[in-house]
C-alpha cells in the first residue's frame, strides 16, 4: 500500500537527502561536527551552535517509544489506516522523532522497542519512515 493519499512530505533542498535516503532504506540524522549534537529534523545550521559544519549520519533505525496516542477516527484519513498510532520514538542516537508505530495499539507501550521501516510513496524517489515493534 502506498503512503498516498496520506499527506506526502514537501521535499526541499534542505531535506531532500533525508527523504531520498529513506527510499534507499536508510534513516538519517544530522550530526554537528562543531559541538557534536545529533539532531532531528534536518537543518543546515546546527540548532545548538549555528555551525554550518553538519554531516548526515545513518541512524541504526532502532529506538523505543517515548510516548504515543491512538486516533480511532480522523476526518480526511484513510479508513483502513485506523486506528492510527501517533508516537514519538527516541532513537538510539538520541533524538525523539514524531512518527507512526504501525502495529495494533495493544502492542504499543512507552518503552516498547521499535525498528524503522519505510513506506513507498507514489513518487519513487522518496519514502516515509515509520516504526514497528521489534519482536512482532
Amino acid at each position: 500500500m502506498s503512503w498516498d493519499p496520506r499527506p506526502v512530505p514537501d521535499v526541499t533542498p534542505e531535506t531532500e537527502r533525508y527523504w531520498t535516503a529513506a527510499a534507499q532504506g536508510e534513516l538519517l540524522v544530522r550530526e554537528c561536527q562543531e559541538c557534536g549534537f545529533v539532531y532531528h529534523y534536518p537543518r543546515s545550521l546546527c540548532p545548538d551552535c549555528f555551525s554550518e559544519d553538519v554531516e548526515w549520519r545513518e541512524s541504526s533505525g532502532r529506538g523505543e517509544v517515548y510516548s504515543y496516542s491512538t486516533a480511532r477516527t480522523m476526518s480526511g484519513w484513510p479508513e483502513d489506516d485506523l486506528p492510527l498510532v501517533l508516537a514519538y520514538v527516541e532513537l538510539e542516537e538520541g533524538p525523539r522523532l514524531m512518527t507512526n508505530v504501525d502495529a495494533d495499539p495493544s502492542a504499543v507501550e512507552i518503552g516498547t522497542r521499535v525498528a524503522v521501516e519505510f513506506r513507498d510513496v507514489d513518487d519513487s524517489e522518496i519514502a516515509v519512515p515509520v516504526f514497528v515493534p521489534e519482536d512482532g
Binding site: 499527506p7 529534523y41 496516542s69 501517533l86 525523539r96
Partner: protein
C-alpha cells in the same frame, strides 16, 4: 530601571455568542472592541495602540492592516504577535511595554473566530502542509488531540497521574459552568462521567477536551495618565512573562511546558509568588494542559499535579486554588480555538467582583496563563499577574 510605570486593564468584554453563523469574524472583532471600550468608559477615538494575532480564516490577509482597515483605526503602535491561543495574554504584556515606552496610551486587544460555524470537530482536523515541521509531523496524522494525548500519556508514565485526576479538572470547571448562563455546557459532570466518555485519543476522553465555539473577546490596556481620568475601577498589571517551548531538535519533554519560565518571570516582576494568588485562570484546551501548567507555574511540585487537583482544590469559592470560574474553555467558551483572551477576561471579572456570585472569590491577586500552539510540538506560554487597585 525602565518600565516600572503602572499599567492597567480598564476594559474587558467577552462576546455572549457561542455560535454566530450569520456574522463575519471581522464583525465579531468590531463588536468585542466596542464592548471593551464601553466597559472602559473610553471612546473609539481614544485608541492609539492595536493588538491582535493572526487568525487562520484570514491567513494571507496581513492581520494588522485588514483589521485596522475594518475597525477604522490609525494606531501609532500595532503588534500581531501570534503564539496561538496564548497570544492575547502576551498582547497584554506587550501593550504594557509599548505604553511604558510612550508609544501608546490606550491599547485595544481583540480576538474573534468562528470555528463552530465553519464545522470543525474537536481537535481532529488534518490540515495541509505549510511549514518545514509539517513534513515531519502532519504527514503522520498528528492532530491537536493526539499530540496532547501523547503529553498526557508521558505525564502519566513519569508521575503516575491518572485519568481520574485529569477528570477532576473538567469536573471542577463544570461545577463553575452551571452558574454561567452563557456557557456552552452548563450541566455539571462527575469524574466518572468524564472517564466514561468516549476516548478521543487515548488517554484523553471527549470530556478532557475543550468546546468548539464561535465568539471573541477584547481588552483595553491603559497608562496611568488615562486611568486617573476614568471613573472606572481598573485592574493593575503586576507582572508579565512569556516564553516558547518546542521540539528542541529532538529533546522535547512532553511532561512539562514553558510555563515555568513565563510564570517565574511574571512572579518576579510582580514581586509575588504562587502562594499569593487568590484566583487563577489557566488555559484549558485539554485537561492535561491545566495539569502541566499548574505544576510548571509552581502551584505544586513537578509531578504532583494529579494529587493537587484532587479534593476540590480548583473549585470556587472554597478550594485552595479556584480556577476558571466561568467554566473555562472546557465548558464555556473557546472562541477561535484560542482561549488566552477569555482567561484574562475572567481574571479581570474576579478582581472587579463581576463574576457569578456563586463562584466569586475575594481575590486581591489573580493570575492568567495561556498555552498556545501544542505542547506536543511547540507552544507559547504567557502569564500575567493582576491585582485589584485597592489591594
Amino acid at each position: 530601571m525602565a518600565g516600572t510605570e503602572p499599567v492597567y486593564i480598564a476594559g474587558a468584554f467577552e462576546h455572549p455568542t457561542r455560535e454566530a453563523p450569520d456574522k463575519s469574524t471581522m464583525q465579531l472583532h468590531a463588536e468585542v472592541a466596542k464592548g471593551a471600550l464601553e466597559d472602559a468608559t473610553l471612546e473609539k477615538g481614544d485608541v492609539d495602540g492595536y493588538f491582535t494575532a493572526g487568525v487562520p480564516e484570514y491567513d494571507s490577509g496581513l492581520p494588522p492592516l485588514i483589521m485596522a482597515d475594518y475597525l477604522g483605526l490609525e494606531p501609532s503602535y500595532a503588534d500581531t504577535t501570534d503564539f496561538g491561543g496564548s497570544s492575547y495574554v502576551s498582547h497584554v504584556g506587550h501593550a504594557a511595554s509599548a505604553i511604558r515606552d510612550g508609544r501608546c496610551d490606550v491599547a485595544l486587544v481583540t480576538l474573534a473566530g468562528r470555528p463552530r460555524s465553519r464545522g470543525q470537530a474537536t481537535g481532529s482536523g488534518v490540515r495541509g502542509l505549510r511549514t518545514v515541521q509539517d513534513s515531519f509531523e502532519r504527514i503522520y496524522g498528528a492532530t491537536n488531540v493526539t499530540m496532547y494525548g501523547m503529553a498526557a500519556r508521558r505525564h502519566m508514565h513519569e508521575h503516575g497521574t491518572t485519568s481520574e485526576q485529569l477528570a477532576e479538572i473538567r469536573a471542577a470547571a463544570s461545577h463553575h459552568a452551571q452558574y454561567n448562563e452563557q456557557a456552552m455546557y452548563q450541566e455539571p459532570v462527575t469524574v466518572e462521567g468524564v472517564v466514561e466518555s468516549r476516548v478521543v485519543a487515548d488517554p484523553l476522553h471527549l470530556l478532557d477536551c475543550c468546546v468548539i465555539s464561535d465568539g471573541g473577546g477584547a481588552l483595553v490596556v491603559v497608562s496611568e495618565d488615562v486611568r486617573s481620568d476614568l471613573g472606572r475601577e481598573c485592574v493593575e498589571l503586576l507582572g508579565f512573562g512569556e516564553s516558547i517551548g518546542h521540539h528542541d531538535a529532538g529533546r522535547i519533554d512532553l511532561a512539562k511546558t514553558a510555563a515555568d519560565r513565563s510564570g517565574s518571570r511574571a512572579f518576579d516582576e510582580a514581586g509575588l509568588g504562587p502562594d499569593d494568588v487568590d484566583y487563577a485562570s489557566i488555559y484549558d484546551s485539554f485537561t492535561i494542559t491545566v495539569l502541566e501548567a499548574i505544576e510548571d507555574l509552581g502551584f505544586c511540585e513537578k509531578g504532583e499535579g494529579g494529587s493537587f487537583v484532587e479534593g476540590g482544590t480548583l473549585r470556587a469559592p472554597d478550594g485552595d486554588l479556584p480556577f476558571n470560574t466561568d467554566g473555562g474553555g472546557l465548558c464555556s467558551n473557546h472562541p477561535a480555538n484560542r482561549g488566552g483572551m477569555t482567561k484574562v477576561i475572567e481574571a479581570v471579572r474576579q478582581l472587579r467582583r463581576e463574576t457569578n456570585p456563586e463562584v466569586q472569590v475575594d481575590a486581591d491577586v489573580a493570575l492568567a496563563h495561556g498555552t498556545g500552539g501544542s505542547i506536543g510540538t511547540r507552544h507559547g506560554a504567557a502569564t500575567v499577574v493582576l491585582g485589584r487597585e485597592d489591594r
